[in-house]
């Protein structure tokens, strides 16, 4: 039975399939939920999770063990998720250009409203509004907020994952909260005035 991350890394580097299975058992929910928080789409998060573990399988030999295995996995997940968002935006732009030239094929995009499956039923509406606002934050603020608030990581761990100092993470978090407040205020004022 392989449980300790150090044993896991050793087994993985030896190409042990059981080690890979154990790694996935341990970290699949962590990877999936991080990706889900960033991309806000369950299918995309599932794709990213697969990509992350494929990447881990290929490049486990490059892992030197200088950081925690979970930190390394978080880093890969964040990179893949941000790449995915960029790719999607590019596709969307290309779709608009295609539609200008009369191509009627409309691509499916994720719905605007995202309901996180882990949010309690009575909180769903407010949470989806928060996630919609979160989408509009700059990448670094968004990542810091998700890692701390959704993934429950401490500031120190967020700093390690993001390769930043503790002060930088604190600053990112306070800017993220301030920006979210502004975005949510604007949203609710608009909604109240429309009613």
């Amino acid at each position: 039975m392989v449980n300790q991350p150090n044993d896991l890394i050793k087994k993985l580097q030896e190409g042990d399939q059981m080690g890979f299975t154990a790694l996935m058992d341990l970290y699949q929910n962590m990877v999936y939920n991080t990706a889900l928080g960033i991309v806000q789409n369950e299918e995309d998060a599932d794709d990213i999770t697969q990509e992350v573990f494929e990447q881990v399988y290929i490049s486990i030999g490059l892992f030197k063990g200088q950081s925690k295995l979970s930190t390394w996995l978080y880093k890969i997940t964040i990179t893949k998720s941000l790449d995915h968002i960029k790719k999607k935006k590019r596709k969307k732009r290309f779709g608009i250009v295609k539609s200008l030239f009369g191509d009627s094929e409309v691509e499916k995009y994720s719905p605007v409203e995202f309901n996180h499956p882990g949010v309690q039923l009575e909180q769903k509406e407010r949470a989806s509004e928060l996630f919609a606002a979160l989408k509009q934050l700059p990448d670094k603020q968004k990542i810091a907020f998700i890692l701390h608030k959704v993934e429950g990581q401490s500031y120190q761990e967020v700093a390690e994952i993001m390769n930043k100092s503790l002060n930088a993470v604190e600053a990112l978090m306070s800017r993220a909260k301030a920006n979210l407040k502004i975005l949510l205020h604007n949203y609710y004022y608009k909604n109240l005035s429309d009613q």
């Binding site: 929910n29 599932d46 290929i58 949470a127 004022y189």
Partner: protein
């Protein structure tokens, strides 16, 4: 004033809505899907490996030199081909004999001095 209070409350509620967020579960059979992805990746790497070896200078430079040599040989061979020049002579001879020159109405007008 009242609406500001409401909005502040809504913002506060939005922030608090993820306080007890639970982890979502991945779809079943993730391991199988990842394994099949890795296998398909392995299948494509054979071609990548082939391209890598063909692209190596130790393989590519002699390969290109060989291609150029074949081309050059073909050009030289056809340029000095005696059968090609005989055929050209025949065409020239029949052209002289039957006067292939193109006649036009302007030439007909000027036939008499």
């Amino acid at each position: 004033m009242n609406s500001k209070k409401n909005v502040d409350q809504l913002v506060e509620d939005a922030f608090n809505s993820i306080n007890n967020i639970e982890r979502a579960s991945v779809k079943p059979f993730l391991l199988s899907r990842v394994n099949s992805r890795i296998l398909s990746e392995k299948r494509t790497t054979w071609w990548e490996n082939a391209a890598f070896y063909i692209g190596k200078p130790s393989f590519a430079i002699p390969g290109l030199a060989m291609l150029m040599l074949i081309n050059l040989t073909a050009v030289i061979f056809y340029a000095t081909d005696p059968s090609a020049s005989i055929a050209e002579q025949n065409i020239q001879a029949s052209s002289d004999e039957f006067s292939y020159s193109i006649a036009s109405i302007y030439e007909n007008e000027n036939t008499e001095p």
